[in-house]
């Protein structure tokens, strides 16, 4: 059981204090949605979960994030190790344009020395199946990834993350650059993936949160205002800010 547990997480960009004492448990086999208006810290928080936050110069994180009781910010854990086990998909599909569809999925396995030859091919195929992409690309695996549509590229990015069999899958607004149909496909995919993975998704689309998330955390100005089962947060919000946000009074 790999829940991911954040405890008293604070984050800074230079002097700007972007996250204040975030404590949140993201349970196994569930989808946790992080929502809130722009600049509320939801993207910052998801980027602390796989230590991508520290790639920006001048940033700092304190607190603990535990997966299987391993503190990701513990002294002996490297950022590479964390990211190899916690997959991430970004806002805009970032396939490697010069590489083939096959290579885009294989690259994570190759750089981490996980599989080669037949095992590699099987793993790539399996990941493309998992991402609901196999039937669309099976006849053109050697074509450049840049030739795929936006929605296909994003599912390719998901396949690339899944190939490493991560313990947690992080999705940072994965559908914000996609058309409605592709968005539904990705949401459908996320609902399936939670059977095997712990999924955390940033969204500022409220309907999306209600459609796919078991649990929702509402961020405002770098703090979690409210977190709980999605139905409860939307139907009976405990805080006025949450209610204002979900009823569309701001944000």
């Amino acid at each position: 059981m790999t829940s991911i547990v954040a405890h008293n997480v604070n984050a800074w960009y230079g002097k700007h204090h972007a996250l204040h004492d975030i404590t949140l448990t993201m349970p196994n086999q569930q989808v946790t949605a992080l929502m809130g208006p722009s600049g509320c810290g939801k993207s910052t928080f998801i980027r602390t979960l796989n230590r991508m936050h520290e790639e920006i110069p001048g940033t700092r994180v304190t607190g603990e994030i535990r997966v299987n009781d391993v503190n990701l910010y513990g002294g002996r854990i490297t950022a590479q190790y964390v990211r190899r086990h916690i997959g991430m998909v970004f806002q805009r599909p970032n396939v490697l344009p010069a590489r083939s569809i096959y290579e885009n999925v294989a690259i994570g396995l190759q750089i981490n020395g996980i599989a080669r030859g037949k095992a590699l091919r099987e793993r790539v195929q399996q990941s493309l199946h998992q991402a609901f992409l196999w039937d669309e690309v099976k006849d053109r695996l050697d074509d450049p990834a840049a030739g795929l549509s936006g929605g296909q590229q994003q599912r390719l990015c998901i396949a690339r993350a899944l190939a490493l069999e991560p313990q947690v899958l992080l999705l940072d607004e994965p559908t914000s650059a996609l058309d409605p149909l592709s968005t539904l496909q990705v949401e459908d995919l996320v609902r399936h993936l939670k059977a095997q993975y712990t999924v955390v998704i940033v969204t500022h689309n409220l309907q999306q949160a209600t459609r796919i998330a078991d649990q929702t955390a509402f961020f405002l100005l770098g703090r979690i205002i409210e977190a709980g089962p999605t139905e409860q947060v939307f139907a009976r919000p405990q805080h006025k800010e949450t209610e204002d946000y979900i009823t569309g009074r701001f944000g």
Partner: protein, 335 residues
């Protein structure tokens, strides 16, 4: 309210008056007509100028072209006393020194750019980049002087003897260490084109989208793997362009090479310690004495060959970049 309306009314009437008085030529506004044809004229003038230069060079080379034909390219003697002219060693020297510079400047320059863009702390980057750019502004005669006064003596007494001792089994390091020669010229050229390679590689790498870096980082890639799989493939076409541009500069470099290459070559040999000639240094050395007739024609034909060489390099570069660009789009090329 009335005031506002009257102002708007005035503006409208002004606009209509303006439209009515606009002069047109063949259905075009006068300004557009002048701009289109004026710029066309400028382009034609530039092309005519280039064609004119080429024509003059070609026409002035005719005596030696008639006299020696293709042998001018291979003849090893450039001997005004006996009216025997050829630029074989100069073509050889031009290619050897330029390729030498390219072989060393390309990896060094790309490596330096990778450091500046991917590893260097941001604050240090700006000043380091400034200094490498500054290197490009040093006049070539200063490089030549430094090469002649500092590098060549050092090569004669330390560098070349060391190479001879340790790598003497190679055909490149067998002659008498003289200091001036093909090797020193190649080294000076390396230093001179290095800032160009760094600057272009740096610019191209800086525009690689951050999403590409993140794609690799999120898979657990190290910084080196990010460079290897995300940055360099994305920047490949631009870097190649920069390297070829640098080669063009090396081919045409005159004064710095002339000062350190020795300007003496009667045969082609792989020995890099030997003194040599390049096409630009032939011209720079001989044009003062070039008496009308075959001698002057030979000097000018050296220039003609240089023009053709740089033209070939540029055409090849464009073809290469177009090919790589197509692969980039279609992505068929696999590392």
């Amino acid at each position: 309210m009335n005031e506002v309306r009257s102002v708007t009314g005035a503006a409208t009437s002004a606009a209509t008056t303006h439209r009515r008085t606009r002069i047109t030529v063949r259905g075009m506004a006068l300004g557009d007509f002048v701009l289109q044809n004026g710029t066309l004229l400028i382009v034609i003038a530039v092309l005519a100028l280039i064609a004119g230069v080429f024509w003059v060079v070609l026409a002035s080379s005719m005596p030696t072209i008639h006299q020696f034909g293709w042998q001018f390219l291979t003849n090893q003697a450039f001997d005004p006393d006996h009216n025997s002219f050829g630029v074989g060693p100069a073509i050889f020297g031009t290619i050897v020194t330029s390729v030498f510079a390219l072989v060393f400047a390309a990896p060094l320059g790309i490596g330096a750019a990778v450091f500046l863009v991917e590893f260097c702390p941001r604050r240090a980057r700006t000043s380091l980049a400034f200094f490498t750019d500054l290197l490009a502004t040093v006049p070539s005669v200063v490089f030549g002087l430094w090469g002649f006064l500092v590098l060549a003596p050092w090569m004669q007494h330390s560098g070349e003897p060391w190479l001879k001792l340790h790598l003497g089994f190679l055909p490149f390091f067998v002659g008498t260490p003289r200091g001036v020669g093909l090797l020193t010229a190649g080294m000076i050229l390396t230093v001179m084109i290095l800032p160009l390679v760094i600057a272009i590689a740096r610019e191209v790498m800086q525009i690689v989208p951050n999403e590409q870096r993140e794609a690799l980082l999120a898979l657990g890639a190290t910084r080196w793997e990010v460079v290897r799989y995300a940055i360099l493939p994305f920047a490949r076409v631009g870097i190649t362009g920069g390297v070829i541009l640098a080669l063009g500069r090396a081919l045409g470099e005159t004064i710095a090479v002339t000062l350190v290459i020795g300007n003496q070559a009667n045969k082609i040999s792989p020995d890099l310690f030997a003194t040599g000639y390049t096409l630009p240094s032939v011209i720079a050395n001989q044009f003062g004495e070039a008496t009308p007739g075959l001698f002057r024609s030979a000097v000018i034909e050296a220039g003609l060959i240089l023009i053709v060489m740089t033209l070939i390099v540029n055409v090849l570069a464009r073809l290469l970049i177009a090919r790589m660009g197509r692969h980039h789009r279609v992505g068929g090329l696999v590392a």
